[in-house]
């Protein structure tokens, strides 16, 4: 009889929790409760060549994001820009900085220690595209290739719904969209927006950095 209750508790977690107590899903954990050695940092940085946007999260050993405590000092040093502090909102910290640089230093200070993480962006690049292109002709985008990172291209427009995306595992420095790639009907002129993203993802222990160089070009599509 005593053993019969075990499967019952397994089948009914709510009952089990009522009897033995469980941690609530809504329990808020703060970064100050985790020692520096157990703290992980997930950083995303994106640059358009003139402005960089950096976002980070702190996590414990289980990788769940932590509420960022006021004791955490988080600043960024970027070329050509003053040292900038992150703005904290719950479990995320953000900043935007005007810089043309590709290497940043993220300094994290806290009462039990500190560290500096280097944020390396993929090489900067410029995308060349025709200002205008006939809908009856393919559209070619060109840039300086870098075979180390994959490239993603997304085309959007107010002239068609959704988007047209490509992922190039091997960067050859150019991509040509075929005439058939876009469904543009009954519109005299429209603007195609091409967003080219080069991504470098690195991991070091519990820390991860995902860095994007993003360039956007616009092409007037004519009938």
């Amino acid at each position: 009889m005593r053993f019969a209750i075990v499967p019952l508790l397994l089948l009914c977690p709510a009952l089990a929790c009522a009897l033995v107590g469980c941690a609530s899903d809504s329990e808020i954990r703060e970064s100050a409760d985790v020692v520096a050695a157990d703290l992980g940092m997930a950083v995303t940085v994106q640059s358009n060549g003139n402005t960089a946007v950096v976002e980070l999260q702190l996590s414990a050993a289980d990788y769940y994001p932590l509420q960022i405590s006021p004791q955490e000092g988080l600043v960024l040093d970027a070329p050509g820009a003053p040292t900038t502090a992150f703005a904290v909102l719950g479990d995320r910290a953000f900043l935007t900085v005007a810089t043309t640089g590709s290497t940043f230093f993220l300094r994290h200070t806290r009462p039990d220690g500190g560290r500096t993480r280097t944020l390396e962006l993929p090489p900067a690049f410029v995308v060349e595209a025709p200002e205008k292109a006939s809908r009856a002709e393919p559209i070619t985008l060109r840039w300086t290739p870098n075979e180390d990172e994959p490239v993603a291209i997304v085309a959007t427009s107010s002239c068609f719904t959704g988007s047209v995306g490509r992922r190039l595992e091997r960067d050859r420095g150019e991509y040509t969209f075929s005439v058939g790639d876009f469904r543009i009907a009954g519109t005299p002129e429209c603007r195609l927006v091409f967003r080219v993203t080069r991504t470098l993802a690195t991991r070091d222990g519990r820390d991860s950095v995902t860095a994007h160089q993003v360039r956007t070009v616009t092409v007037e599509s004519t009938p």
Binding site: P138, F160, L168, R170, R172, T176, S178, G180
Partner: protein, 215 residues
């Protein structure tokens, strides 16, 4: 113990017998037209046009009786269909255009029931000459179909990165960029299948071609 096992076997046999009974399925003459809907699907290739579908009725199975006849009508032919367990299927010669599946009913049963579809004309896909994954690869077919057909081109093969292109405009050709088909760590020759599908609702016209590709 032995008696219990025998009783269990009898019970199982009873259930099986009930499920497999020869009880006749409902007949169409008992059903009003408003209780019958026909769903039709078309699968066309350069070899044949397969028209299939099913009857949705209050019963899962129905038999056509008493003057109810089912016909598939195209611009070039009209063929009677047999209904089997509420489903039908017939192969016609290669065809493009409107297709109607019509249940013609005697008076007093609520009128005829019809399902319509439109299938793109049959076509063939032509392979590229001496395709190399490291160079642009162009596939061509008879294109220029109506804009309401959704055309998709796909390339698959063991030595390439599979590609799928939902085309906004069917121009009858598509060029994959140099290197777009290359697969990381694979530099082998293999056979690639190019498939073009032109779809409108439940009507599909497709064509495939195999061709060799080298790194």
């Amino acid at each position: 113990m032995r008696a219990g096992g025998a009783l269990g076997a009898i019970a199982i046999l009873g259930v099986v017998a009930t499920a497999c009974s020869d009880e006749p399925s409902p007949v169409s003459s008992d059903m009003s037209s408003r209780d019958i809907t026909i769903t039709v699907a078309i699968d066309g290739t350069a070899e044949r046009t397969r028209v299939s579908g099913y009857f949705a009725t209050p019963s899962s199975q129905v038999r056509l009786v008493g003057g109810d006849t089912l016909t598939v009508v195209t611009e070039t032919t009209a063929r009677h269909l047999a209904l089997r367990d509420s489903t039908f299927q017939i192969d016609l010669p290669p065809y493009g255009g409107p297709v109607a599946v019509r249940l013609t009913r005697p008076e007093g049963r609520g009128g005829d029931v019809e399902a319509r579809a439109r299938v793109a004309p049959p076509f063939v896909v032509r392979p590229p000459d001496a395709a190399r994954a490291s160079a642009p690869v162009t596939v061509t077919w008879e294109g220029g179909t109506r804009r309401d057909f959704a055309t998709t081109l796909s390339l698959t093969g063991p030595c390439i990165t599979p590609q799928s292109r939902p085309l906004g405009l069917d121009t009858g050709s598509y060029t994959f960029n140099a290197g777009e088909l290359e697969k990381k760590g694979v530099a082998a020759r293999c056979s690639v299948t190019a498939k073009v599908v032109k779809k409108l609702d439940t009507a599909v016209q497709s064509a495939t071609v195999d061709f060799p590709i080298t790194p």
